[in-house]
């Protein structure tokens, strides 16, 4: 699917001109006159990036970025501003802005920024997909297997797991084997890696151990 460039700017003429320029270079472009309009019309499954005006009446660029993180975290944001504003830039970067571009930058710089954003989107998409797959695998474990998995990734020995779950060491070994099979892994280290990716470790550390 062809990626879309979302141009969000309250200034109609700039918005239109930029859209024309990007279209002329063969990109798909959507324009929005405000952050609200953008968020309302956003379809999360399409690839692309956002050119977001930092200074707008109503919701400012930073506010929109925050909301966008919740809605479409994969969509890279390129901020556009009339003039470099250090405070705003830092905030934007902290919030995950990929790029920061002055409005009077050259077309080449703009195109580069967009390209970078697209590449990033793709990279993020791949990563995202991988995580989704791992999450699905973990989700496919039976309750007992999941319990065993959680204890395994915390480095517990089979004996300890058996004691903690009140089952025989033998049974633990069977479950452990099942987990390795289902997740397609061979070692406990790999299990820890998956758990870290999907964010299970912190979660578990916070929870009181069995």
């Amino acid at each position: 699917m062809k990626p879309v460039v979302h141009v969000v700017d309250d200034d109609k003429s700039y918005r239109t001109a930029t859209a024309r320029l990007l279209s002329a270079y063969g990109l798909r472009v959507e324009t929005y006159e405000s952050g609200d309009q953008f968020l309302a019309r956003l379809s999360t499954c399409e690839p692309g990036c956002v050119l977001l005006d930092l200074q707008m009446p109503g919701q400012s660029g930073l506010q929109i970025q925050r909301r966008l993180c919740e809605r479409a975290p994969l969509l890279p944001v390129v901020f556009l501003t009339g003039e470099g504003d250090i405070k705003a830039s830092v905030e934007a970067m902290k919030a995950g802005a990929k790029d920061f571009l002055e409005k009077n930058s050259t077309t080449a710089a703009l195109m580069e920024a967009i390209d970078r954003a697209f590449i990033q989107y793709e990279r993020q998409q791949v990563e995202h997909d991988r995580l989704q797959a791992q999450r699905a695998l973990v989700a496919g474990l039976s309750p007992r297997e999941a319990e065993v998995f959680r204890l395994v990734i915390r480095g517990h020995l089979n004996k300890q797991i058996a004691y903690a779950l009140g089952i025989s060491e033998r049974t633990v070994k069977v479950h452990r084997h099942q987990v390795m099979e289902k997740l397609g892994i061979r070692s406990a280290a790999e299990a820890v890696s998956i758990a870290a990716n999907i964010g299970l470790i912190n979660q578990d550390a916070a929870a009181p151990a069995g």
Binding site: S13, Y14, A17, R20, L21, G82, N104
Partner: protein, 631 residues
């Protein structure tokens, strides 16, 4: 000539003689000695006038006599006047009746002194003294020594004489016309005229020797007199004696005859009578009526006081008619010393010098006060213009500061159209390179480029308007709504950057005011930037800056309100003072400059807090009155 008018025949001299004759009857004069016995009462003086009361000459003399007497006695004197009217009623019966009447009238108040004005009066009293004023002193005299001798008066009558000296008149003429070479003497054909001519011939014998020609114009008709006089050479002196009759026997009042001659004479005419003045005569040596009156007065006073009195000649004076001097171009300085100038238009100075001195003193004082005031005013003006210049400087600094503060938002605002133009241009050029260019789109792109260029231009011109430096106030009439809108344009970028909502409500129709547009805009910008600064700490959603224009009592008003913390009450009065600031980076000049600007244009500014929170500034400017523009 007042007297001779009616009595030319009787009184041959043209002048009259006041005779004060203390003519006590011979017997009584002897018994009562020379002094009048005046006991326990004021002295009584009876003045007899020969004619009626309307003869100007006798009236003038009588008036002089009267004031002399009143003055000398300090008013303690009884003055009686009688008009004998002898020329119109010369009949003996009338004279006898008059004598009898006066005798009875004055029986209870016998005069101590009788003053007889004119020869007729003198003769009358001499004949009737016993009836009218027994025991009184009488002075009688006549006109000119020549004629006085002919009047038969008692010896004890004392006389004040007047003599008319043609030689002195001639000398006056010579003094006025030192280069004259011809002498003419005019005289009539009556006996008196002839006797005058004879006397003159004798008097002028020596005098006439210094002239090339001396001509006596006599035995001529009036027309001949006039005609001859009009043909005399310009370097001539004409001396006029009297013309009671011309050769044909026609009677004249001399002054009228002389008047006719002088009117067309080709040289100045002189004459020895006061009455000739006003009839074209330059002047002469004479006895004035006033001088005569005073002389008589002195005699009477002496007589009352019992002093020995004797005949006295009234003093002669030179008189001249200023108008005639001017007519003939004669110099005033050539007049004999002491000459009385008649009809001289006394200069204002002579007439009113004390008033003039006081007046001009006042004017001077006033002028100096005025000049001091003018000077002060000028100094004030200078000071005002200096302070105005300082104000203009301060406003400019203020403008620059505002521009600096707004520069980033203005740059941002300017970047929008510029970036749009560039993107549009680039897009167009890409489109043109394509195989099948969309001409319609390119057309639209070009239109948009023009529009954005216009927008950028507007921003720059607003910026320039904001920075415009004034060396003097550029007065113009404009709509307060317009200026408010343009100020909002300037700050809207900054407001946006700070997350401040701008709202503006405007009075429908125009709010015409007269001032310098840039200055008023600066006031609004100051208030707006202050308001925006005041909202730094406020929560972004609640940041609102509101402009509202309105109309109140012939004033155009603008309210600028914010949703900041407001102004603490104790600071409200001080915020317009220069260098008063609560901001870390503030100069403290914004509000004081705003106030100075508004006061320059007759407006005002005040600050307050809104009940719902935040501060509000109210600006008022007087409405400019143009022709009713109710839209």
């Amino acid at each position: 000539m007042g007297l001779s008018e009616r009595s030319g025949r009787l009184c041959r001299t043209a002048c009259f003689l006041a005779v004060a004759a203390a003519s006590v009857s011979t017997l009584q004069a002897q018994t009562s000695d020379t002094s009048v016995a005046i006991i326990d009462r004021v002295p009584r003086v009876l003045v007899l006038y020969p004619y009626d009361e309307r003869i100007a000459a006798t009236t003038a003399a009588g008036e002089a006599l009267r004031s002399r007497l009143l003055e000398a006695t300090k008013g303690k004197i009884d003055l009686f006047s009688e008009f004998l009217d002898l020329s119109r009623f010369p009949e003996g019966e009338h004279v006898a009746r008059m004598a009898r009447y006066l005798g009875e009238k004055y029986a209870v108040r016998r005069p101590d002194v009788v003053v007889a004005v004119g020869r007729e009066s003198a003769s009358f009293i001499a004949a009737n003294q016993g009836t009218i004023a027994p025991g009184a002193k009488i002075v009688a005299a006549d006109f000119g020594t020549t004629t006085a001798e002919k009047i038969d008066l008692p010896d004890d009558v004392i006389a004040a004489f007047t003599t008319f000296d043609i030689l002195k008149t001639a000398e006056m003429a010579r003094s006025l016309q030192p280069h004259a070479r011809h002498l003419y003497i005019v005289g009539g054909s009556s006996d008196f005229d002839r006797s005058w001519l004879t006397a003159a011939r004798a008097d002028l014998k020596q005098f006439s020797k210094s002239y090339a020609t001396t001509t006596y114009l006599e035995d001529l008709t009036i027309d001949e007199f006039v005609e001859r006089a009009s043909r005399v050479p310009p370097d001539s002196i004409i001396l006029a004696l009297t013309v009671f009759k011309d050769r044909t026997g026609r009677n004249f009042i001399p002054r009228d005859a002389i008047g006719q001659i002088a009117a067309t004479a080709s040289a100045p005419v002189y004459g020895p009578y006061q009455t000739y003045i006003d009839h074209g005569v330059v002047g002469g040596n004479t006895v004035t009526f006033e001088a005569l009156g005073r002389t008589v007065g002195n005699l009477v006073i002496d007589a009352i006081a019992g002093k020995p009195v004797s005949d006295l000649e009234a003093p002669q004076t030179y008189i001249a008619d200023a108008r005639q001097l001017q007519r003939w171009g004669l110099a005033e300085k050539d007049l004999p010393p002491g000459t009385i100038q008649m009809h001289k238009e006394r200069s204002l100075w002579e007439e009113h010098w004390p008033i003039l001195v006081a007046g001009s003193g006042l004017v001077l004082a006033q002028a100096s006060i005025i000049s001091v005031l003018l000077f002060e005013r000028r100094r004030r003006r200078d000071a005002e213009s200096r302070s105005r210049l300082h104000l203009l400087e301060a406003v400019h600094l203020n403008q620059s500061a505002t521009a600096g503060a707004l520069s980033s938002s203005i740059a941002h605002e300017l970047n929008q159209p510029l970036s749009a133009i560039r993107n549009n241009a680039e897009a167009a050029s890409v489109l043109l390179r394509s195989a099948n260019p969309d001409h319609e789109l390119i057309q639209q792109i070009l239109l948009d480029i023009q529009e954005d260029d216009q927008r950028a231009g507007d921003i720059i011109s607003r910026m320039r308007g904001m920075l415009k430096k004034r060396s003097e106030i550029d007065w113009q009439e404009f709509d307060l709504n317009d200026v408010t809108s343009s100020a909002i344009h300037i700050i809207h970028g900054e407001a946006e950057r700070r997350g401040i909502t701008l709202t503006s409500t405007q009075q429908p129709g125009e709010l015409p005011v007269r001032a310098d547009k840039v200055h008023v805009q600066q006031v609004i910008l100051n208030l707006a930037t202050n308001a925006m600064d005041a909202m730094l700490d406020a929560a972004p959603p609640g940041r609102a800056l509101t402009f509202a224009t309105g109309l109140a009592n012939e004033y155009a008003e603008l309210q600028v309100s914010d949703t900041g913390d407001g102004i603490p009450e104790e600071r409200l009065i001080r915020i317009f003072e220069p260098f008063y600031t609560t901001k870390q980076a503030g100069t403290g000049l914004g509000l004081s400059i705003a106030r100075a600007i508004l006061e320059t244009y007759g407006g005002s500014i005040c600050a307050g807090n809104r009940p719902e929170g935040g501060a509000v500034f109210r600006v008022a400017l007087p409405l400019a009155h143009r022709e009713e523009q109710s839209r």
